[in-house]
């Protein structure tokens, strides 16, 4: 039994306009690619609950479009759509990304897959066109939070890989 990888996504900000998320899966690259790109699979994991996914259409070819809609538990409809720019099965998918609530925030997401010894690493780079778009994504709602873990948090934020200290 392989160890559970829950909660292991690594999120980084290589520039002011990019958000990079990296996650490993214990599955062969072909299967991971299918699960990312075939609607019959995407329906089973994209939304928090399967029955809340109301639209899941994917035309997987360069120039083809996708559209995904799910409804959150408070009834809000979340609609994402875009156009495929590059497809290199099973290692790379590039597509435009547009959340319908933010019409000026179009981004390009690049998904790179890489398998080593049965473990497939998926790296997703969401790159906004300009800061106005990125600002939607990082809009803070000012909710109060506990201060207790501030220092730990700050350290991990500044030095997620332990690489900065002592340099």
């Amino acid at each position: 039994m392989t160890p559970n990888r829950h909660g292991t996504a690594v999120i980084e900000f290589p520039s002011a306009l990019e958000i990079v998320t990296t996650r490993e899966f214990d599955a062969p690259i072909e299967l991971v690619f299918d699960v990312l790109t075939k609607p019959e699979h995407v329906r089973n994991w994209f939304a928090p609950f399967e029955d809340t996914m109301t639209v899941c259409s994917i035309d997987l070819r360069v120039g083809g479009k996708y559209h995904m809609v799910f409804v959150t538990d408070d009834g809000t409809e979340c609609s994402f759509r875009g156009t495929y720019l590059e497809i290199e099965r099973p290692t790379r998918i590039v597509y435009t990304w547009l959340f319908e609530g933010w019409p000026d925030a179009e981004a390009v997401e690049t998904v790179d897959l890489h398998e080593i010894d049965g473990v497939t690493k998926v790296k997703m780079n969401l790159a906004f066109r300009d800061q106005a778009g990125r600002d939607h994504m990082t809009k803070f709602d000012g909710q109060e939070d506990s201060w207790d873990k501030m220092e730990d948090y700050l350290r991990s934020l500044l030095d997620p890989n332990g690489a900065v200290s002592g340099s």
């Binding site: 996504a9 999120i11 002011a16 699960v35 994991w45 600002d135 939070d145 700050l154």
Partner: protein, 113 residues
């Protein structure tokens, strides 16, 4: 061109690796520019430039001590970012964990057939 809102400026400020190094160095306590130059082996104009950006968004505070200007961290200003990042990380992890569970389920089913 209009300036971006203060909160997003914080995001912008920490997106730069050298600025994160400066903040990391300031976690140990208040420092003069010279000490930062020394600690980080970064040219002084560069350190000063980054300190100016960090000061503008309020992540770093500056006070005069004699002829020196002493810089210290103002981590309170990171709170909105902390809130956002915690939510974003949670949402991304939830989604990728669901994908992981589904992949494992598919493979279990494949083994059964």
């Amino acid at each position: 061109m209009a300036r971006a809102s203060t909160t997003s400026d914080i995001f912008n400020a920490i997106a730069e690796a050298h600025r994160r190094e400066i903040m990391d160095a300031l976690m140990a306590g208040e420092k003069a520019v010279g000490a930062l130059v020394n600690d980080l082996s970064m040219p002084q104009p560069q350190v000063s430039k980054h300190l100016r950006v960090l000061s503008e968004v309020g992540l770093v505070r500056c006070r005069a001590e004699g002829r020196h200007r002493m810089y210290s961290l103002e981590p309170v200003r990171l709170r909105p970012l902390q809130d956002w990042l915690a939510k974003y990380e949670q949402a991304m992890n939830d989604r990728l964990d669901r994908m992981d569970d589904y992949l494992q389920e598919l493979q279990r089913q494949g083994e059964l057939q």
